[in-house]
C-alpha cells in the first residue's frame, strides 16, 4: 500500500538520486544534484545512448501536444511531468494558443515546488503533488477543478510514468478510471518503457538502477502496453516505438537503434459513449 495522500515534503532526500532529476540531466539541464549525476553516469555506462532516449521521448511530447491541439484540445493534464523544464506542455501549448490551460502532477516534492517556481505568474498553469494511482484525488483537487473544465475534452498526458506502477496497482484499471472522468473527444498520450528489443546488458542495468534508486521500474511488452488502451481508440499509427509515432524531423530519432526502441508511444481518443 502507498501512503497517500502525500504530505508536501514527504520523501525529500537529496542524497538518494531522483529519476526526474536524472532525466533532466540527460536532457542537458542543471536541475540536478551530485547524487543524480552519479546515477546518471552509472546508467550511461550500461546504456551509452540513454540521453538520446530521453531526447526522443521529449520530442514525442511535443508532437503529441501539437496533435492534441490540432484536434481542438486546449486544456491538458500532465501526470508524472517531472521537472517542467524546457519545451514542456505549457510552453508548447501556450506558444500556439495563450489560452491553453495546463495542470502538472508529480509525486516528487522537489519537482512540484520547482514547478511552482517556474510557473509563477502563469495564471493558466499549475502544479499539484499527487500520485498517478489516485485518479479521484487528482481530479478532485481544487487546482485541477479551477483550471480544467471536465465537460470539455482534455489532453491527458502520461509519459514514461506507468513503468513506475506495478501490475499490482492495475495500470489498465487506473486508465479506465481516468477515461470515465474525461469528456468524449479527450485524447490520451502515453509512452511506456520497454525492453522488448534490448540486450541482456540493459536488463542488468535496469536491475542495478532498481537497486540504487528508490523506485522500481517495470518495463512492459507491446502486448501489455496495448492492453492499457482498452476502451480508447488508438490513432494511427497505433502503438509504436516512440520515434516512429508521426516523426517530423531528425531530432525525433536517435541514430542508435537501441535508444529508439526503449519506449512505446500511443495516442488515443476517448470515444463517445455508446447509444
Amino acid at each position: 500500500m502507498t501512503d497517500h495522500p502525500l504530505g508536501e515534503s514527504d520523501g525529500i532526500d537529496t542524497s538518494v538520486p531522483n529519476i526526474a532529476r536524472v532525466y533532466d540531466f540527460f536532457l542537458g539541464g542543471s536541475h540536478n544534484f551530485p547524487a543524480d549525476r552519479q546515477l546518471a553516469a552509472m546508467i550511461e555506462q550500461n546504456m551509452p545512448h540513454i540521453a538520446d532516449a530521453a531526447r526522443v521521448n521529449r520530442a514525442f511530447l511535443r508532437r503529441a501536444v501539437l496533435y492534441m491541439m490540432d484536434h481542438g484540445i486546449r486544456q491538458f493534464l500532465d501526470i508524472g511531468s517531472g521537472i517542467p523544464t524546457v519545451g514542456n506542455v505549457h510552453e508548447i501549448a501556450q506558444s500556439a494558443d495563450p489560452e491553453c490551460r495546463v495542470v502538472y502532477v508529480d509525486k516528487e516534492p522537489v519537482a512540484v515546488a520547482h514547478g511552482r517556481i517556474l510557473l509563477r505568474g502563469n495564471g493558466k498553469a499549475g502544479t499539484i503533488r499527487a500520485d498517478i494511482r489516485d485518479p479521484e484525488e487528482i481530479l478532485g483537487r481544487p487546482e485541477c477543478k479551477q483550471l480544467l473544465d471536465f465537460t470539455q475534452p482534455i489532453g491527458l498526458i502520461t509519459l514514461l510514468v506507468w513503468h513506475f506502477v506495478p501490475d499490482y496497482d492495475d495500470p489498465a484499471g487506473l486508465l479506465a478510471r481516468y477515461r470515465a472522468a474525461l469528456a468524449p473527444g479527450s485524447i490520451l498520450a502515453l509512452t511506456h518503457f520497454t525492453l522488448d528489443d534490448s540486450s541482456e546488458g540493459l536488463r542488468q542495468a535496469l536491475a542495478e538502477v532498481n537497486n540504487r534508486g528508490r523506485e522500481q521500474m517495470f518495463p512492459r511488452t507491446h502486448e501489455q502496453v496495448s492492453a492499457m488502451f482498452t476502451g480508447f481508440e488508438l490513432a494511427d499509427p497505433g502503438l509504436v516505438v516512440s520515434p516512429a509515432w508521426r516523426p517530423q524531423g531528425p531530432g525525433d530519432f536517435s541514430d542508435s537503434p537501441g535508444s529508439n526502441a526503449l519506449s512505446y508511444a500511443g495516442v488515443a481518443h476517448v470515444p463517445a459513449p455508446p447509444g
Binding site: 504530505g7 508536501e8 515534503s9 514527504d10 525529500i12 532526500d13 537529496t14 542524497s15 538518494v16 536532457l27 542537458g28 539541464g29 542543471s30 536541475h31 540536478n32 544534484f33 551530485p34 547524487a35 551509452p48 545512448h49 540521453a51 538520446d52 530521453a54 531526447r55 521529449r58 520530442a59 511535443r62 523544464t85 524546457v86 519545451g87 510552453e91 508548447i92 516534492p109 522537489v110 519537482a111 512540484v112 515546488a113 520547482h114 511552482r116 517556481i117 517556474l118 517530423q248 524531423g249 531528425p250 531530432g251 530519432f253 536517435s254 541514430d255 542508435s256
Partner: protein, 701 residues
C-alpha cells in the same frame, strides 16, 4: 609568348559566385547543422524553425569572417543563441564547431581573406566562449531555482521551525551549492554542508563578515533594499573569503523568507559552487580545441598550429592516418567498442610521439593526424606508428585488430596553405590505400635515387608552372567514319631546362604525387575551354582526369565554375575518369561522375579493357564514351586473342549506347583496322603534325 599565370592561384577570389549561389550554400550548411545538432539535444522547435534560426547564425558567422577588426562579439552572440535554442547536449557545441569551422575553412568565397584559418579559429573561439558564458549563466539560474524549490518544499511541509531545522540538514545535504538561512542581521541560523565547506564560519561572524571588505557595504545595501521590497530576489557576484584563505568571486542569490506572521524574518542565501563552475568554463575552452572522445587536439587546433609552424622555418612532416575497415568495425562491434578503439589508438599515437616535438590530433571518425617538427627518420617513424596501431586492442574482453593507411607530406613548401597541405596528405592516404590496407605513401625525397630525381622534378613543378614553363597544347580527335575532326584534347607540355620536355602523362603523374593536380588540372581545363570557345570552332573538348582529380570532392564545383566563367556549353565538354578509380569503394569518383552527367557533360571512362570488372562501370554509371587502355591497343594488332576481345568489347560498348575511342594511331592500316573493329573516334600522330599551341592551328594533314 604570354605567361600562363595560373588564374586560380593568383586571384581565387575573382571566381564569381552569385549571391544566389551563396545563399544556397548557406542554406545547405544550415540544413546539415540542423540535422546534426538536433540529434545532440532536445530542441523544442519545429525542424523548419531550427533550420531557419541556424541559417541566421550561419550568416552572422560567415559575415563576420572578413570584418576588420574581427567582429568577435557577433560570434559570441551566436554561441549564446545556441544555448537559448537549447542546443545544450554534451556534444552540441562540438558538433556545431566542427560543422561551422569545416564549412568556413573550405568556403571558396572566404578563400581570399587574409589569414583566413586564423580568423575562423578566433571566431569559433569567440562562439565557444559566448556559449560557455550563456551555459554558465543558465546552469547557475537552474541550480538556484532547484535549491529554492528545495527550501520551499521543506518549509511548506513543516510549519514548526524546530522540526524544519532538522529536515533542512537532511534535505539540503545533497546540494553542492552553499545554502544559508540567516536572520536579518546576517547571523547564521542554518547552513548546509556545502556552505560550511566553502567558508570558515565561526560562531560570532555574520554572513556579511564573509564578504570581501571591498564588496561588503554594497552587498549589505542590496540586502536592505530587498528587505524594503525593492527587489524580490538578488543576484550578485561579490568576492567571498573562502575557507582555504583564498578570495573568489562567487555567484550569489538571495531572497527574503517570511516568518509565521507573514513578515520578513530571515534571508535565504545561495552561493553557487565556485570550483565546479570554473571547471565547467575551463572544460568548455578545452572542448573547443579538443576532440571530446579522445581528448586529443581537434582539426581546428591542428590547423592553427600548422599555420604557425608553416610560418616558422624548420623541417616538418605532416602525417594523416586512416584506420582501415573502420565502417565495418563500427557496424559490427558497436559504438562502445569503436569508441574505446579510437581512444586507445589516440593514446598509443601520443605515446609513440612522446619524445618528439609533435602534435597528435583526432579529426573525425577513423582519421588522425600528426604534425611532426624536426627531421626524425621518416621510414622508422612510419614503422613505429604502424607497429603500435596493428597491435590488437583489447576491448570488452575481445581483441580488435586494425591496420592503418598513412599518407605523409614531408618538408612541404612554406608558402602552402594549411588546407592545401591537409588535402595533399589526404590524397597521399588515398594513394596508399590503392595498394591495399595497411600501406603508406610518402613523398620523401631521400628514399632512393630514382625517387629523388622524381621528387626533385616534382618539387620544381609549382615554380615551373608559375614561370610559364608548363603550357597547354592540343591534339585532334578524329571520327574514323569520315576522318573529320570532332574534338580536341588539351595536353600539358613542360619544357624542363635540365630534363628536356616532360610529356603530358608524366606531368600528371608528378602533379598527382605532390598534390598539385587539383589546381594544375583545373587550370588546364580553364585555359582549354576558354581557347576553344574563342576559336569559334564547333568541337568537343576531351579531357581525361587523373585518379585524384576524379575523386576530388570539389571536382564538380570546379568544373561547373569553369564552364560558367568560360561560357563553354556543358555538352561540348567530355570528361574521362580512369576506370579503376570508379571501381574502388573509397573516394567520390562515381558520385562525381553522376553529377557531371546530370549537368549535361559527356562522361567518359579511360584505361578500359584490363579487367572484366570494367564492364560493371559501363553498366552502372552513365557513360557516353569509352577509351581503351593503351596496352590493349598496342596488342590488338598483334594478338588474335586480343583482337577478338576488342571486337566483342566494341559491340558491348555500342550496346550500352556509348562510343569507343582509341589513341596512339600511327598509320592508315591501323586506322582502318580499328574502324572495322568498331572504334568510333581516334587520336594519334596520323591525324596531326604534332600537338599545337593553338586550336586554330589544328587541321587535318
Amino acid at each position: 609568348m604570354t605567361t600562363p599565370m595560373p588564374e586560380e592561384e593568383r586571384v581565387p577570389a575573382t571566381m564569381p559566385t552569385s549571391g544566389e549561389n551563396r545563399s544556397r550554400e548557406r542554406a545547405k550548411l544550415a540544413r546539415k547543422w540542423a540535422y546534426l545538432v538536433s540529434m545532440t539535444a532536445y530542441l523544442p522547435l519545429s525542424h523548419a524553425e531550427i533550420e531557419r534560426q541556424l541559417l541566421e547564425l550561419v550568416s552572422d558567422l560567415a559575415d563576420a569572417v572578413p570584418t576588420e577588426p574581427l567582429d568577435l562579439a557577433r560570434a559570441s552572440g551566436v554561441g549564446a543563441r545556441l544555448v537559448q535554442m537549447h542546443c545544450v547536449g554534451r556534444t552540441s557545441l562540438q558538433v556545431s564547431v566542427d560543422v561551422l569551422a569545416g564549412a568556413l575553412l573550405a568556403d571558396p568565397e572566404l578563400a581570399h581573406v587574409d589569414r583566413m584559418a586564423e580568423r575562423v579559429t578566433r571566431l569559433v573561439g569567440a562562439l565557444a566562449s559566448g556559449y560557455a558564458e550563456a551555459i554558465r549563466t543558465s546552469a547557475l539560474r537552474q541550480q538556484d531555482e532547484l535549491n529554492r524549490a528545495l527550501v520551499e518544499a521543506v518549509s511548506k511541509g513543516d510549519r514548526s521551525r524546530k522540526a524544519g531545522d532538522l529536515r533542512f540538514d537532511q534535505v539540503l545535504s545533497g546540494s553542492d551549492s552553499g545554502i544559508a538561512i540567516t536572520d536579518l542581521d546576517g547571523r547564521f541560523e542554518r547552513t548546509n554542508a556545502a556552505f560550511d565547506a566553502m567558508v570558515n564560519r565561526s560562531a560570532e561572524a555574520t554572513f556579511f563578515d564573509l564578504i570581501h571588505a571591498g564588496d561588503r557595504l554594497a552587498v549589505g545595501a542590496a540586502y536592505q533594499e530587498m528587505l524594503a521590497g525593492k527587489a524580490e530576489r538578488l543576484r550578485l557576484q561579490p568576492r567571498l573569503l573562502l575557507a582555504d584563505g583564498e578570495v573568489a568571486k562567487v555567484a550569489l542569490s538571495a531572497s527574503v523568507l517570511p516568518g509565521a506572521d507573514g513578515r520578513p524574518s530571515h534571508y535565504l542565501t545561495i552561493v553557487a559552487d565556485v570550483t565546479e563552475l570554473s571547471l565547467l568554463r575551463g572544460q568548455l575552452s578545452h572542448q573547443l580545441l579538443h576532440d571530446v572522445l579522445t581528448g586529443l587536439p581537434n582539426r581546428q587546433f591542428f590547423t592553427t598550429r600548422l599555420e604557425q609552424v608553416l610560418h616558422e622555418d624548420g623541417p616538418m612532416t605532416v602525417f594523416q592516418l586512416d584506420l582501415d575497415g573502420f565502417p565495418m568495425i563500427s557496424d559490427g562491434l558497436g559504438r562502445t567498442v569503436t569508441d574505446s578503439l579510437l581512444r586507445t589508438v589516440g593514446e598509443r599515437l601520443t605515446a609513440v610521439m612522446a619524445g618528439e616535438k609533435a602534435m597528435v590530433a583526432h579529426f573525425d571518425g577513423a582519421r588522425f593526424a600528426i604534425l611532426l617538427e624536426g627531421a626524425p627518420d621518416l621510414v622508422s617513424t612510419v614503422g613505429r606508428i604502424t607497429e603500435t596501431i596493428t597491435r590488437p586492442v583489447r576491448v570488452d574482453g575481445r581483441d580488435v585488430a586494425t591496420s592503418v593507411s598513412i599518407g605523409a607530406v614531408h618538408r612541404p613548401e612554406r608558402r602552402v596553405e594549411p588546407a592545401e597541405l591537409l588535402r595533399s596528405a589526404d590524397m597521399a592516404v588515398r594513394q596508399a590505400r590503392q595498394s591495399g590496407p595497411g600501406q603508406w605513401a610518402v613523398f620523401d625525397p631521400s628514399r632512393d635515387a630514382r625517387d629523388r630525381a622524381t621528387f626533385g622534378l616534382a618539387a620544381g613543378m609549382p615554380a615551373a608552372w608559375r614561370s610559364g614553363q608548363i603550357r597547354v597544347v592540343y591534339q585532334p580527335l578524329v571520327r574514323l567514319a569520315d576522318r573529320r575532326m570532332v574534338g580536341v584534347e588539351p595536353l600539358l607540355m613542360w619544357n624542363q631546362p635540365e630534363h628536356g620536355s616532360v610529356p603530358h602523362d608524366r606531368c600528371l603523374e608528378l602533379a598527382e604525387r605532390i598534390g598539385l593536380i587539383a589546381r594544375l588540372g583545373s587550370w588546364l581545363l580553364r585555359r582549354a575551354a576558354d581557347q576553344l570557345r574563342r576559336s569559334g570552332r564547333d568541337l568537343m573538348l576531351a579531357v581525361d582526369l587523373t585518379p585524384n582529380q576524379s575523386a576530388d570532392p570539389e571536382l564538380v564545383a570546379r568544373v561547373l565554375h569553369t564552364l560558367n566563367d568560360t561560357g563553354l556549353p556543358p555538352e561540348r565538354l567530355q570528361l574521362g575518369m580512369p576506370v579503376p578509380e570508379l571501381l574502388t569503394e573509397y573516394g567520390h569518383a562515381a558520385e562525381n561522375l553522376r553529377f557531371l552527367a546530370e549537368a549535361g557533360i559527356r562522361t567518359a571512362i579511360h584505361d578500359v579493357g584490363n579487367l572484366a570488372a570494367d564492364l560493371i562501370v559501363l553498366e552502372e554509371l552513365p557513360i557516353r564514351v569509352v577509351r581503351l587502355s593503351p596496352r590493349l591497343i598496342s596488342r590488338a594488332g598483334r594478338s588474335t586473342l586480343t583482337a577478338k576481345a576488342v571486337t566483342d568489347l566494341a559491340a558491348l560498348v555500342h550496346s550500352a549506347e556509348a562510343t569507343l575511342t582509341v589513341g596512339g594511331i600511327h598509320s592508315q592500316p591501323q586506322a582502318n583496322w580499328w574502324h572495322r573493329t568498331g572504334a568510333d573516334v581516334a587520336t594519334g600522330p596520323l591525324f596531326s603534325t604534332g600537338p599545337q599551341d593553338e586550336i586554330s592551328a589544328l587541321s587535318m594533314p
